[in-house]
């Protein structure tokens, strides 16, 4: 029995497929959806913890990848360097769960960790390298 935390990215055409149902039914996995942001017709992201047989988890990942879902190991934390950040806000356009937003009162960057699904889309969008991942 092993546990793995994964970030799943769904292209918009398969957002509507019953993925988690299959994970239970065909791979006998327990799962816990920690965070998710899925809207029909849009790209979706899910932070999921899988528990089950090691081989079956690997098979499930292969199944997910074959379906067109991108699978990556979840990072532990996204860290924003206040010293480097210039509050431009370009990352807020990338952040699918809106964990990153500009505060409407002072236009400074706000990071709501509870909303972050660790998808890492923001990492390479910061022009001043203020966003780092803590693995």
């Amino acid at each position: 029995m092993v546990r793995r935390k994964l970030v799943l990215s769904f292209p918009e055409n398969i957002v509507t497929s019953p993925i988690t149902y299959k994970l239970v039914k065909e791979f006998n996995l327990e799962f816990n959806i920690l965070r998710a942001e899925i809207t029909p017709d849009m790209e979706g992201k899910m932070l999921i913890e899988l528990r089950g047989d090691k081989v079956l988890i690997d098979d499930a990942i292969k199944y997910l990848t074959d379906t067109g879902i991108s699978v990556q190991e979840a990072a532990k934390d996204i860290i924003i360097s206040k010293d480097k950040c210039i509050d431009c806000g370009v990352c807020t356009s990338i952040c699918i769960t809106q964990a990153l937003t500009l505060d409407s009162s002072n236009f400074k960057l706000k990071f709501n960790k509870d909303k972050c699904i660790l998808c890492e889309l923001c990492l390479d969008c910061c022009p001043v390298s203020a966003i780092k991942v803590h693995i």
Partner: protein, 388 residues
């Protein structure tokens, strides 16, 4: 009723000057009306803090013993232009490192210099009777060299396009990372705070105008490259597209890394965030009409950056209030937006400039010559000599 720059400077000297930033003037003019605002307010400070690729600095290293006429120059492995005399160089912001590729370049050299960090200088030469040395390797700092000044051919764009991506893959552009299938929209203007949007017909900003440049005092040295004032405009004077630009000059030795930041756009390359602040004298009521514009009065156009052509397809126009709300609709789809230029930094600069004016550290200038009101905008076509 109109005011001259001399009268405003006299008020600065007497401590009686009334200065607002370009955000504060909006409510002020709304409440008090244009006439009273023109009478009561003397200066409005505008600012922007965005990546400005067309930037770079002239440096003079001083002469070594024996001296060298440098013909190839590297600063922290970034090539600098050496085709000007013996020890003058121009380091361009977007020039890339020969060893570190896209992650280090001219902008970083400039930021390192301003931050007081040592920079490795290597140069070679063919050697002459008057300049016998053929190579040199040494370290410099901003304090060990002679003159160091920005001379930026194109800064402070009057307005700029918004960008999106209709293709099915993520693209990496100077407008940032653009997600597939209209996944996001990026834009780049300080909008209601932006200098040339508050003086859309260049009534007060011209060649010779003193400006806040990255923490020091600089000047508008010329109209910027690609200055294109003939763009389509709204009745309030603001253009839909890029329009006017400024060439600026200023002493690197007075600048601060607070207001200048090297940056890398993944997959594109190096650029430089520069803070520019320009005080606009409230010379008359007409000026108030221009200065009171707000984000919702300023429009830009959304272009599809996945089309790799000079003219990209448009998804229509949008105003800066909508863009700044974080979400707009493009082709019926709700799309998240993000700014590349920092509004919060621009606001900070407008307030720093305000303070400097009130503390008699910054006086206003009459321009020496106006920016051109008309200028042809050429494209580069591939022609034979006969077709020219």
């Amino acid at each position: 009723m109109s005011k001259t720059i001399e009268e405003i400077n006299e008020k600065i000297r007497n401590g009686k000057v009334v200065v607002l930033n370009a955000e504060e003037i909006i409510d002020y003019a709304e409440k008090k009306g244009v006439k009273r605002t023109a009478k009561e307010v003397d200066v409005v400070t505008t600012a922007t803090f965005g990546p400005m690729c067309s930037s770079g600095a002239f440096l003079n290293f001083g002469h070594s013993d024996p001296p060298i006429k440098m013909t190839r120059i590297l600063l922290n492995d970034v090539p600098a232009y050496a085709g000007i005399a013996a020890v003058d160089a121009y380091i361009g912001a977007t020039e890339l490192s020969e060893t570190e590729g896209l992650s280090y370049g001219g902008a970083y050299v400039i930021e390192d210099l301003i931050s007081g960090k040592p920079v490795k200088l290597r140069a070679t030469s063919h050697g002459t009777d008057c300049y016998p040395r053929r190579e040199i390797e040494t370290y410099i700092t901003i304090d060990t060299i002679n003159q160091a000044y920005f001379f930026n051919p194109r800064n402070a764009y009057q307005n700029y396009a918004a960008a999106t991506n209709s293709s099915n893959r993520t693209i990496y552009t100077y407008m940032g990372k653009l997600l597939p299938n209209l996944g996001n929209v990026t834009y780049c203007s300080a909008g209601q705070l932006s200098p040339l949007l508050n003086d859309p017909y260049y009534r007060t900003i011209g060649i010779g105008t003193r400006i806040f440049l990255a923490g020091g005092q600089g000047y508008v040295s010329w109209y910027g490259t690609q200055h294109n004032p003939g763009r389509e405009r709204l009745p309030n004077g603001t253009p839909f597209g890029t329009a006017g630009t400024l060439a600026v000059i200023g002493n690197l030795k007075e600048m601060s890394p607070e207001y200048l930041r090297a940056c890398t756009f993944q997959g594109y390359g190096v650029s430089i965030f520069i803070g520019i602040g320009i005080p606009i004298p409230v010379i008359d009521e007409e000026m108030v009409e221009f200065l009171k514009i707000k984000d919702e009065d300023i429009y830009t156009e959304i272009f599809d950056y996945s089309v790799q052509r000079r003219n990209r397809p448009s998804y229509g126009r949008v105003n800066y209030r909508e863009l700044r709300s974080g979400k707009i609709r493009v082709k019926g789809k709700s799309v998240q937006t993000g700014s590349i230029s920092s509004y919060s930094k621009a606001l900070e600069i407008s307030n720093v400039l305000k303070k400097e004016i009130k503390q008699c550290k910054f006086y206003l200038t009459n321009y020496v010559a106006p920016l051109p009101a008309e200028e042809k905008y050429n494209t580069l076509d591939i022609l034979s000599k006969e077709e020219l």
